[in-house]
């Protein structure tokens, strides 16, 4: 009898410890409030003036994304259907944005059903479902913010997002495909919120793209401008069906950013290798880019777009109507 009760006590203790061990999974942090961005460090250029053209450094892009980026003319964004294009969810937290977050709870049980985000850049609303519902079918539409589900891992909110539209990993000229999956982590430390995103893209990334941003809780919850109106205007700049793009080897701005920052061309073409500290050694052995090129001429035949490590053969500046501006395209 004594053995039986000892076993019972041991079992009780065993499951009690198991339960205690799993408590962090149920620990929930209230993220409610208006969060303002702390614009600094690596996310400063993304949030403010925007990156330069062919500034792919530090992005784990693959060759396909690079070729896409080198053929890109930022005047494509002046096509009426592109003018109100939104930052996709894997990018928007580096928009010049603030966000309001709030909870949706079951009125009877108090169970957390969803966490909502209103991101004031492009008036985006996002729902992070916390009720365990499945992600949609492969035939379901994709949206700018995608379909998100969240779980608590300790006091960290981890969100998985699928079904996002095609957008960009770097504003405008490095594409993000519509097959990305975004894993985000929200960690609250007092009045500071750290947002970490891990983006997987089987189409345009060689390795996951990992980014982080900080936000500060606003003392005034009413200090939030939710409006970002956008109405497209067709000024007749382009003939019907025109899609501005450079032919391979004819982008005149390939070397500009590299030369202005005394960088080798290869560095600015990005790739997973450029993310790691060891790459600094290699950078020192590469020649610095020159811009504008001394005597460039339009190639007789379409030359290959810049391969990784091979640099580009910049064509003459003055790409004609719709040429990319050196400062890059949209600033926000």
């Amino acid at each position: 009898m004594q053995n039986v009760s000892r076993v019972a006590v041991m079992l009780f203790l065993f499951f009690a410890v198991m339960l205690i061990g799993s408590i962090p999974a149920f620990a929930q942090v209230d993220l409610t409030g208006v969060w303002n961005p702390n614009v600094q460090d690596e996310d400063n250029p993304e949030r403010l003036q925007g990156p330069s053209l062919v500034e792919f450094v530090g992005l784990p892009i693959n060759d396909q994304a690079r070729v896409w980026g080198l053929s890109y003319r930022s005047s494509r964004l002046s096509l009426s259907e592109h003018q109100c294009q939104v930052h996709v969810v894997e990018y928007i937290h580096r928009g010049p944005m603030a966000m309001r977050m709030w909870e949706e709870r079951d009125l009877i049980t108090g169970q957390l059903i969803a966490i909502h985000e209103n991101i004031n850049t492009y008036e985006q609303f996002r729902t992070i479902w916390m009720d365990g519902r499945p992600h949609p079918s492969e035939y379901a539409p994709h949206t700018w913010m995608g379909f998100s589900t969240g779980v608590w891992e300790g006091n960290m909110l981890t969100v998985t997002t699928t079904h996002v539209k095609q957008g960009w990993h770097r504003r405008e000229n490095i594409p993000a495909s519509d097959e990305v999956t975004v894993i985000e982590h929200y960690v609250k430390h007092g009045n500071t919120l750290v947002h970490i995103s891990v983006t997987e893209d089987p189409i345009f990334l060689a390795e996951p793209l990992i980014k982080s941003e900080d936000f500060t809780l606003s003392a005034d919850p009413n200090n939030f401008n939710p409006f970002w109106p956008c109405e497209y205007t067709d000024e007749g700049e382009f003939a019907r069906g025109t899609v501005p793009s450079y032919f391979a080897g004819e982008n005149p701005y390939v070397a500009q950013y590299a030369a202005e920052h005394n960088l080798p061309q290869e560095v600015t073409l990005g790739g997973a290798e450029t993310m790691y500290p060891e790459y600094r050694t290699k950078v020192k052995s590469l020649p610095v880019a020159v811009y504008p090129p001394a005597a460039a001429a339009t190639p007789a035949t379409p030359a290959p777009a810049a391969p990784r490590g091979g640099g580009a053969a910049p064509a003459p500046a003055g790409g004609g109507r719709g040429a990319a501006t050196p400062a890059g395209g949209r600033g926000q």
Binding site: A65, E81, E138, P141, V164, E179, W228, P302
Partner: protein, 340 residues
């Protein structure tokens, strides 16, 4: 006392270990969630293993996917209108899915293109339906559903001949004008013929109140657009169709939602998805045209590295029955073909 301490320590160690193992087991059991890839259906699928999915698009419009090309069902008090019928061998599964959407009779079937995966089950669904009238159907035919297609589609089918494509798949109800329209289930239905697209007989179907356009293979979320040169297809017709789509579609808010688009294959889309696809097809066409202008041969174009479709191949180049090389070759031949 020492013995008790040992027991507690052992118990604690075992419990912590078991707890960790339990946690690992649980986390390992949670499936990784990833965005599903938009992959084309295999050329010769095992039909017994294929399943269809039904999704409500918006308004009166539903999508039945997985039976070949996308099948669209408009359902209402007037009955059922289908756009395309899928593979013949999937007709039982499609019929079962259709009955869950509506038990009303099938009145009309509109064809977007020629391919088997869009028109294979025409006969089954025509026979299963009936026109909304007493007596015989069109031209004294049995009272079955009307099968509608462009006049050019019927012409192409007749040219192919009944040995290769049964007369029961031919659309007896045709139109020779750029558009045909009628009213069904409380909304205008507008059929727009797009000449020289995937074939010479393609059409898109626009449900104006539901605000949905069904494109056929002019817009394909799983592949570069197929160009059937033998049956009147051409790259510029496809681009024209895509540009017409952009003129019809209206986004609801910041380039999202609003008019929804059902492609020939793959997921439900909207204007922005069409836009990115139109941009891609136009850019590739322009590259080939630029090479033709520079007197490059097809062999030189094919040998160019990176290829003219390079940056789009991981997304749209997975169709073994319609490879990027085949697409580029078809563009070249389409652009260099002598016009009558």
């Amino acid at each position: 006392m020492k013995n008790l301490f040992l027991k507690i320590s052992t118990f604690a160690a075992v419990t912590v270990f078991a707890s960790a193992a339990f946690a690992v087991l649980i986390s390992a059991q949670q499936p990784q969630i990833r965005t599903p890839r938009q992959m084309p259906m295999p050329a010769n699928p095992d039909f017994s293993k294929l399943e269809v999915q039904t999704l409500h698009v918006q308004g009166n419009i539903h999508l039945i996917a997985g039976a070949g090309g996308n099948i669209v069902v408009q359902a209402g008090d007037d009955g059922v209108l289908m756009v395309d019928t899928g593979y013949d061998k999937m007709s039982d599964k499609v019929m079962a899915a259709l009955k869950k959407i509506s038990t009303k009779p099938i009145r009309d079937i509109v064809l977007t293109t020629l391919a088997d995966d869009h028109t294979g089950a025409n006969e089954v669904f025509v026979k299963a339906g009936s026109v909304n009238q007493a007596g015989p159907g069109l031209g004294g035919r049995p009272n079955t559903a009307d099968l509608i297609g462009s006049g050019d589609l019927l012409r192409i089918m007749t040219e192919i001949g009944p040995d290769k494509i049964s007369v029961n798949r031919w659309p007896p109800k045709t139109f020779l004008t750029p558009r045909m329209d009628f009213y069904m289930n409380d909304e205008p239905v507008i059929i727009m013929h797009i000449p020289e697209a995937n074939t010479g007989g393609d059409s898109m179907v626009w449900f104006r109140r539901s605000d949905v356009v069904v494109t056929g293979d002019i817009f394909d979320e799983t592949s570069f657009p197929h160009i059937d040169l033998e049956h009147g297809g051409g790259i510029n017709g496809i681009i024209e169709g895509l540009n017409q789509l952009l003129e019809i579609t209206v986004p609801k808010h910041l380039q999202e939602g609003g008019t929804m688009v059902v492609p020939g294959h793959g997921r439900i889309s909207d204007e922005h998805d069409v836009l990115e696809y139109r941009d891609m097809v136009t850019i590739i066409r322009n590259r080939v045209q630029n090479a033709i202008n520079k007197k490059m041969t097809l062999a030189q174009i094919k040998a160019t590295k990176p290829s003219y479709t390079y940056e789009y191949e991981l997304r749209f180049g997975n169709n073994k029955a319609w490879t990027p090389e085949m697409f580029v070759e078809a563009i070249y031949k389409s652009l260099t073909a002598a016009k009558p």
